[in-house]
Amino acid sequence: MSVLQADSDKLLTAVARLLHEKNIVSPDEITERRAFTDAANPGQGARMVARAWVDAEYRALMLADGAKAAEALDIPMRGMPPLGVLENTPLLHHLVVCTLCSCYPRAVLGYPPFWFKSAAYRAKAVRDPRGLLADWGTRIQAEVQVRVVDSTADYRWMVLPVRPVGTEGWDEARLAKIVRDGDMIGVTVPSA
């Protein structure tokens, strides 16, 4: 049997021990890194969306350079891939997938969810996007173009959803609360 077919838990223990012994990665660094990664969550992306909904200048920055827009809200982007922002309109709906692996805008949304990494999601998104959206109960009107963005290379992509009706006069904090991870990938749309 190949050494690579060892039990996964044992493999992790063994690799972590060897990396520690060789002074490459220490247990403390792993703990720190976990804390850093755990800190990224969909609330970060939601703050960006809410700001873009109330501030035209910020919206323009976000569409031009997502990473700069994230940094403007103190979201750490150092060492992160470029962030592209896809603007939904009343006639255009974006849906993000990575058919080759699981590229996900982690800096602003956190760990990719289980569904994003699943074979069913990766297969269906590019071939039957409207059927896929039905798995979430999301229905996109026939006159709205669906654009599937297959994330294959160096960018990471997030969706800027359309601000829902019924949110007139809401402040940024209140708007941010209605934006979920799925809205920023395009499997759902926010509602008031």
């Binding site: 050494v3 690579l4 077919q5 060892a6 996964s8 838990d9 044992k10 493999l11 992790l12 223990t13 063994a14 690799v15 972590a16 021990r17 060897l18 990396l19 060789k22 490459i24 990665v25 660094e29 792993i30 703990t31 890194r33 976990r34 990664t37 755990d38 060492g79 997938v97 058919t99 080759l100 692996c101 699981s102 760990y111 969810p113 289980f114 569904w115 990494k117 699943s118 074979a119 069913a120 999601y121 990766r122 297969a123 269906k124 998104a125 590019v126 071939r127 039957d128 896929l132 798995d135 979430w136 297959d150 499997v187």
Partner: protein, 102 residues
């Protein structure tokens, strides 16, 4: 149609056998194992020991039947071990010895 295409097994866009099932849209909480593997990969990337491209290559090298039996982060730790050996960061003998005590 697609059966005729020599696609690699990780290249899943539009593949019929994955089209029939509804997507499991529920939350799956990450385990300590998952988070540790994720953190090690991030650190190896930041320290230029191993790139995300190498991680992917190692995942794609897992034979198809095993690939589909494994969880997401099980594939990652296997690819990490594969790449560390390919890079000469660790040897197979060292890994075998460490596995004995794991």
């Amino acid at each position: 149609m697609e059966q005729d295409l020599p696609r690699a097994h990780h290249d899943m866009g539009g593949v019929s056998k994955f089209m029939c099932d509804a997507v499991d849209t529920t939350d799956h909480v990450l385990t300590d194992f998952d988070r540790d593997v994720d953190a090690i990969r991030g650190l190896l990337g930041a320290k230029k020991v191993m790139s995300v491209d190498e991680l992917r290559r190692g995942i794609e090298a897992i034979p198809e039947a095993e690939y589909h039996r494994m969880t997401y982060y099980q594939r990652w730790i296997r690819s990490i071990a594969d790449n560390l050996m390919a890079r000469g960061v660790i040897t197979e003998a060292e890994l075998r010895a460490a596995l004995e005590g794991a």
